[in-house]
Symmetry: C2
Subunit: 472 residues, 2 copies
């Protein structure tokens, strides 16, 4: 028999009564440090936790306690902690603590992370924090960066890069890298850039080529001249397209005068993609106005969720008003009431499938927002076929249940027709919203549901009223 | 007045009648090449297209035409094309073409991409393809790789890495890199690994350190000894945790005997994350059994969508059967029928919000699958508050509409109670499914909807039957 080896790390899904209770409830020691105002113990404890436990520990504390912890420890420890927290939580903390403390922490953060957090803050509060920065150049730099869209080239770039003049030799570059190894060590240098006297980008040097070339050779001889670069104002879609073309690890960023201003890495682009997918998922699920974590204040969470629910209740009432118009029909054939929600829900499901396929094809660039005809063609046929299958299924059940073939026909054809309508609508709505520059993740769902509900109710009740004598 | 500058590239959202019609409908020239069997023209045309247009062009052709194009051009051109297509499409193509042609293409692909595609294929077809590979070692290698889970360390790793013996000097390493610059050029070498005679990982060398050290120094002096490594069998969650800890660009992968077998890059992990988010989004939207593109065969698309809809229709019938049990109540107060779908839909929306927050907190590791009490507490209070707001809103509308305060009370309290239930359920279901190792993205929606529908119908009709005399 094989023995199971002892696990090296505690299983995160193991029982709550673990032998290492401090990992199960990591917020308790932290709260204790806070009570005793023991900065050293707090810092030591935080440093021993892995990133996930840091997040878990902080997420169980109130906003005030989180801010107290951050204010208690050294700026470097706080910066490390904020880097591991969800961005929305890090922003909240920076908004709560004193601007002086915030400034110390931002100084200890990588510039792009600092800019991300400042961008998330209220403008007055981020200004107050920037005013407290000791280094006026850095403050100005951060101010400029926060003005770029978060996921534009300017927002995603790092300003830590190594650039050398056209007159340099391989030896000069290697010497400088060696001399300031400490500084370049943070940069993850794979490419080194060549600029002219004015700072205009002229070429890219691969570290590999530097290593493999004699030191006396001028860099201009081994650099890749006229390299691919992105504009600082390039939006996220433009970046995605450029990075889609080739397996670039990173690309230089230039401003409108071709001055080299930064470097955007594929990693930054990939992370922004993941962030956007998360945001889309949350929007689709009705979490609007920013990410929600359960550690946030209850009233804020209620208000944000209601901001989505309240308009939805109105749309629901509009849809259900169709039922009110047919009260007589419903009164005569009360069995119809059973099928109203089934028809509307099922059509909603069919429509959602079509929404998802359109969203995916838009992301992959397989379809352009103007190509309605293809969607109508491809979804129309599918809707017809699936409508017939589902309509037959539900219609048969309805007909057998009440032993009335007309009821079966009414319910079956209502579902079949509404399925066709809803897949067409579901396929088209994301394209239309994209064309109107409205986020399809936000609006597709409510538009689709309202329309398919209304049409579903109308079809069932209207068809029933046409053959009312046969149904009673 | 400022003049708008002429755009450098065609606007993807511009009118269909562009001056560059070959970019608007890139599939037409491709179909023409196919008709005339002109391999050279097809290859030339494909190479001129950017990745997105390659995808668009292929997506408009039938599966047979796609396979014909791939079989027509040289394996290298076909490999480049397959790399830019959605994986599901590339897999379909490999399944359709002859195994010999497939083998030539897989040989021209990077090994990890090849393994991904083989993993997606039917086993018989991938075996047939592997049997046609000229290089038996590569075939064996690929066979082993396809046995790892796609998003485990073994599935995500690349086997192209540079490893040197412990006895090497800096000069040896630089000499070898220089000598085989061509080969290492494809690897994007940032780290070089040091192994002992048996192939066991001993250390990691940063290219930067190599550059900055005299050539006579033995590598063991500058290597990072006992480096962080991942196990080849590590699953995706373990990888995420490791990469979450530090800004590793890549990590060595070792097998159970500590032999160095590959390197997994952060980029591979980020891409796998994005793929998983996409899959979750599609599952949530009811696209099951694999990604759907509209270029796929109609019957396959219908069948896959029905695979999700058919069980859903049964769940819907179960939920609606509650209405059938209360036909008398409904007959007496037909206005209730208007509010049944409103109450169930609104509760569904509230529940979905809670699902999204739980999914997000699980992803961030802020909550563990066993921590029900926290969810019950945090969602319970929120549900109570939002339930009161929404219940008051809808109850008031109902009461005023029919001028009956009891109707308002019934509808209002039903919505309030059902909101509490649905946020509790929505918050808990993802945790429960995670604990049961069922994908929450797949099952949360239907479970939640069925329960909130049933409870909503029951609450409205049961409360109404309690005060029936006041309602009529």
């Amino acid at each position: 028999m094989t023995e199971t080896p002892a696990p090296l790390a505690p299983d995160p899904e193991s029982e709550t009564n673990s032998t290492e209770p401090e990992l199960e409830r990591p917020w308790e020691p932290l709260a204790k440090c806070l009570e005793s105002k023991d900065a050293k113990a707090a810092a030591g404890f935080l440093e021993d936790l892995n990133s996930e436990d840091q997040r878990r520990a902080m997420s169980r504390l109130s906003s005030e306690e989180q801010a107290q912890i951050v204010a208690l420890v050294e700026p470097e420890v706080a910066a490390d902690l904020l880097e591991h927290l969800p961005e929305v939580q890090a922003v909240d903390i920076l908004e709560v603590i004193a601007p002086e403390s915030g400034a110390d922490i931002v100084e200890a953060l990588p510039e792009d992370t600092g800019a991300d957090l400042l961008r998330g803050m209220d403008e007055a509060e981020s200004e107050a924090l920037l005013a407290e920065l000791d280094d006026i150049d850095e403050a100005e730099n951060l101010r400029v960066r926060t003005e770029y869209e978060a996921d534009s080239a300017g927002g995603l770039m790092t300003e830590s890069f190594a650039a050398f003049p056209e007159t340099a030799t391989v030896g000069d570059v290697l010497g400088e890298l060696s001399h300031n190894a400490e500084m370049y060590g943070d940069m993850d240098v794979q490419y080194v850039y060549v600029i002219n006297d004015s700072g205009i980008l002229r070429g890219v040097l691969r570290l590999r080529d530097l290593v493999l070339t004699r030191r006396a050779v001028p860099v201009v001889e081994i650099m890749i001249a006229d390299p691919v670069a992105v504009q600082v104002s390039d939006d996220f879609e433009a970046l995605l397209r450029t990075f889609d073309e080739k397996a670039y690890v990173g690309l230089p960023v230039v401003d409108e005068s071709c001055l080299l201003v930064g470097v955007v890495t594929r990693q930054a682009v990939d992370e922004a993609t993941a962030d956007q997918q998360t945001e889309d998922y949350l929007l689709t699920s009705g979490i609007v106005g920013g990410e929600e974590l359960r550690s946030m204040p209850m009233l804020l969470r209620c208000r944000r969720r209601l901001a989505w629910l309240a308009p939805n209740i109105l749309l629901n009432i509009v849809a259900a008003s169709v039922i009110a118009m047919y009260e007589d029909t419903l009164q005569a054939v009360i069995a119809l009431a059973v099928f109203l929600p089934i028809v509307s829900d099922m059509s909603g499901c069919s429509g959602n499938q079509a929404v998802a396929v359109s969203m995916r094809e838009l992301t992959l660039g397989l379809i352009r927002p103007g190509e309605y005809l293809r969607v109508i063609w491809k979804e129309g046929i599918l809707g017809l076929m699936n409508g017939i299958v589902l309509g037959t299924l539900l219609g048969t059940i309805a007909g057998i249940w009440k032993d009335n073939v007309y009821l079966g026909l009414v319910i079956g054809s209502a579902l079949a027709l509404n399925t066709i309508l809803s897949v067409l609508l579901g396929g088209l709505v994301p394209l239309l919203l994209k064309k109107l520059k409205v986020d399809p993740a936000l609006a597709s769902g409510p538009i689709l549901t309202t329309c398919t509900d209304m049409c579903g109710f109308f079809l069932v009740l209207n068809l029933a009223s046409l053959v009312l004598t046969k149904l009673t």
